[in-house]
């Protein structure tokens, strides 16, 4: 939904505000533009967007923003307090904490991105299938979803990691296994409201296959609520990943994962407080950013739901 490729150049604003869109593409662009206008008016949501964009930029330009990759020990300079040379001080191996934080944003984005691309399609598939098929398929699938919804997520993720072995990929898999179920719920609810709609019946009458109806007419309408929920869940995903890292079950050293950084910095809490404090602040800031962004997105994309 990018309005970057504008067919009319200078008259972009007029094109976006034209009361009678000439093409589907124009209508979609107008919709996105209106959403953006509403979103921009919400300062809290903009703050969230700013934080998330900063995270992405930090991850992309990490080599330019830092002096080192923060992996090589420099023992003579260990546990230095924050200074002009080391903005956030150095850790127990003399590595620059600021450098590690910036490179750690890549790990965070990797986790968040991977969980999203596992969880959203599974949730969408299960939810739309259950909602569209109905009958016993619906009953069975929703029972499974209910079972997963009722589980304690962190403990279950712990048990999964215990079985799979510690590591970043396994942590992602464990988080995904415990996170997918609400998406199926949401997608199913959306499908139920549109299943009997006239345009679906029309598509059926034209002889469209079930697969085509699901792909072209049902799934796109579920996407908005799934994306909103995903953004709101990001904070939880980041916190769970950090928690697994903190327990030593997620990313393994020397990878600069923020939770694992807190865990190793714990030994220096009382004397070199900056070592565990800085990565915690980074986690806090980023999950706050996703919370704010999700709140704002919900208001724009999903005006029906209030607080949930």
């Amino acid at each position: 939904m990018s309005a970057a490729a504008d067919p009319q150049g200078a008259g972009l604003r007029a094109w976006l505000r034209s009361p009678s869109p000439a093409s589907t593409w124009q209508a979609r662009a107008q919709r996105a533009y209106l959403g953006w206008v509403a979103f921009r008016a919400n300062p809290i949501a903009m703050a969230g967007l700013l934080i998330v964009v900063a995270l992405v930029l930090a991850a992309i330009f990490a080599p330019l923003l830092t002096g080192s990759r923060g992996l090589d020990p420099d023992l003579p300079n260990r546990l230095l307090p924050p200074s002009a040379e080391h903005w956030l001080g150095t850790d127990q191996l003399g590595r620059d904490i600021y450098d590690r934080l910036i490179w750690g944003s890549r790990v965070t984005l990797y986790i968040v991105g991977l969980v999203s691309i596992i969880v959203a399609p599974i949730g969408l598939a299960v939810g739309t299938l259950a909602g569209y098929a109905g009958g016993w398929v619906d009953t069975v699938l929703m029972r499974i979803v209910d079972i997963f919804l009722a589980f304690p997520r962190l403990i279950l993720a712990l048990a999964f990691v215990a079985a799979l072995g510690p590591g970043l990929e396994n942590a992602v898999l464990a988080i995904a296994l415990t996170t997918w179920s609400p998406y199926a719920r949401i997608a199913r609810a959306e499908v139920l409201t549109i299943r009997k709609a006239d345009y679906i019946v029309a598509a059926e009458a034209q002889g469209a296959s079930t697969w085509r109806i699901l792909r072209k007419h049902v799934v796109p309408l579920c996407l908005a609520s799934v994306i909103v929920r995903l953004t709101l869940d990001m904070a939880g995903i980041i916190l769970t990943a950090a928690g697994l890292g903190f327990l030593g079950l997620g990313a393994q050293p020397p990878l600069p994962e923020w939770g694992a950084m807190i865990s190793t910095g714990r030994d220096f809490l009382y004397d070199q407080w900056w070592v565990p404090t800085a990565p915690g602040a980074a986690i806090f800031l980023v999950s706050l950013g996703f919370c704010l962004l999700g709140d704002g997105l919900r208001d724009v994309l999903d005006p029906r739901s209030g607080e949930a």
Binding site: R143, I144, D146, I147, F148, A150, F151, P152, R153, L154, I155, L156, L158, A159, F160, V161, A162, A163, G165, A235, L239, A242, G243, F246, L247, G248, L249, G259, I262, R266, L269, Y270, W273, P276, T277, G280, A281, I283, F284, S287, L288, C291, L292, G306, E307
Partner: protein, 353 residues
């Protein structure tokens, strides 16, 4: 209450069977969830890279001994039969023996669980006592600074990693200010001085009138409970605010105002009563998630609870203990949620009829 005939005529069941049916359906879904939970822990136990037979006999055992234990453990039988055996063991409270402590897992869990219970209960209490009035206050002053403060606090409580907050708390209140005691449940020289039939130190100390021990245990408890409580507070305040706003917009509130009821009466006697019913589910949910979420807090505060038991067992590849702990926490989690759901059904007349 209507008599059965007229109830049948209007197609509505009388109240009592309806409540029964709700309970029955809750029990069915409890049973299904239980089966799902145990199936998952069972599968996890089976896909473990560690060989369960080797864990028992050791890697120097003869082929003969290995085969015997293999048969004894029933690993040759079909997988569903193994699962049924496993289910039977769980239902009789048998989770096997912990490799780490060499005691039955059930015994271990009974020893560690009260500490977690103590922590989660106090945290939920903190969350309710501060969170509910804060939420009501924010809703009444919607859009003013108190509302914004409550919102920011709520988001902060949700976004901050609980283990990081715990460490900051230790750094400030224990390391720098010295207001509270450090990690652990009680100072070492008080350890074991009071009989602990319940395992909840606060309760046992108060019962025996050992106030010195009580205050010592309390100064250890207050910081971790406060950190978890902040999380509870954030969620409870947020939900209270949104429920309250919902109620304040209803017509009966307007009617009460027109009638000349005082603002206090409108808020607390009319609107809040309905909010309270909805809050039952929220508080149940918070309590359940604190029981689970205390894993990280317990690690930071060296709190000898079930969460720490599970994580230490995990690092010692003590699978019986990990799975036993997971099942017990899972059952508590599911049970509390079901219970609050049922309570809600009975407390809310609209859900009842």
């Amino acid at each position: 209450m209507t008599d059965t005939n007229s109830a049948a005529a209007t197609g509505k069941l009388p109240a009592a069977p309806r409540a029964l049916r709700a309970t029955a359906s809750a029990l069915v879904s409890l049973a299904l969830t239980f089966i799902g939970l145990t199936a998952i822990t069972f599968v996890i136990g089976r896909v473990m890279p560690a060989d369960p037979v080797l864990a028992v006999v050791g890697d120097r055992a003869s082929e003969e001994a290995y085969q015997r234990v293999f048969l004894e453990m029933g690993l040759d039988r079909p997988i569903w039969e193994q699962y049924l055996t496993y289910l039977g063991q769980i239902l009789t409270g048998d989770f096997g023996t912990s490799i780490m402590t060499t005691r039955p897992v059930t015994e271990d869990i009974l020893r560690f669980f009260p500490a977690t219970l103590e922590l989660a209960t106090l945290a939920t209490l903190i969350g309710c006592v501060i969170g509910i009035p804060l939420g009501v206050w924010a809703a009444v002053n919607q859009g003013r600074w108190i509302d914004h403060c409550a919102r920011v606090l709520g988001l902060a409580g949700y976004s901050a990693p609980v283990f990081w907050l715990g460490m900051l708390g230790l750094l400030i209140f224990y390391g720098n200010l010295g207001w509270v005691a450090g990690p652990g449940r009680i100072d070492i020289y008080y350890d074991g001085l009071v009989e602990d039939p319940t395992g909840v130190i606060l309760f046992d100390a108060a019962w025996h009138g050992e106030w010195e021990i009580f205050w010592n245990a309390f100064s250890h408890l207050i910081l971790p409970a406060g950190v978890l409580g902040l999380y509870a507070l954030a969620y409870i305040a947020r939900m209270t605010r949104s429920f309250m706003l919902d109620q304040l917009g209803q017509e009966y509130v307007l009617a009460a105002r027109i009638k000349g009821a005082s603002e206090f009466s409108v808020i607390w006697r009319h609107a809040f009563r309905n909010v309270l019913v909805q809050l039952i589910t929220i508080i149940g949910l918070t309590y359940a998630s604190l029981l689970e979420g205390s894993v990280l807090t317990e690690t930071v505060f060296a709190w000898p609870g079930i969460g720490q038991y599970i994580t230490t067992s995990l690092f010692n590849a003590d699978m019986n203990a990990v799975l036993g702990g997971t099942v017990v926490v899972g059952i508590c989690f599911v049970g509390i949620n079901m219970l609050s759901d049922l309570l809600y059904r009975f407390a809310d007349p609209r859900a009842r009829t």
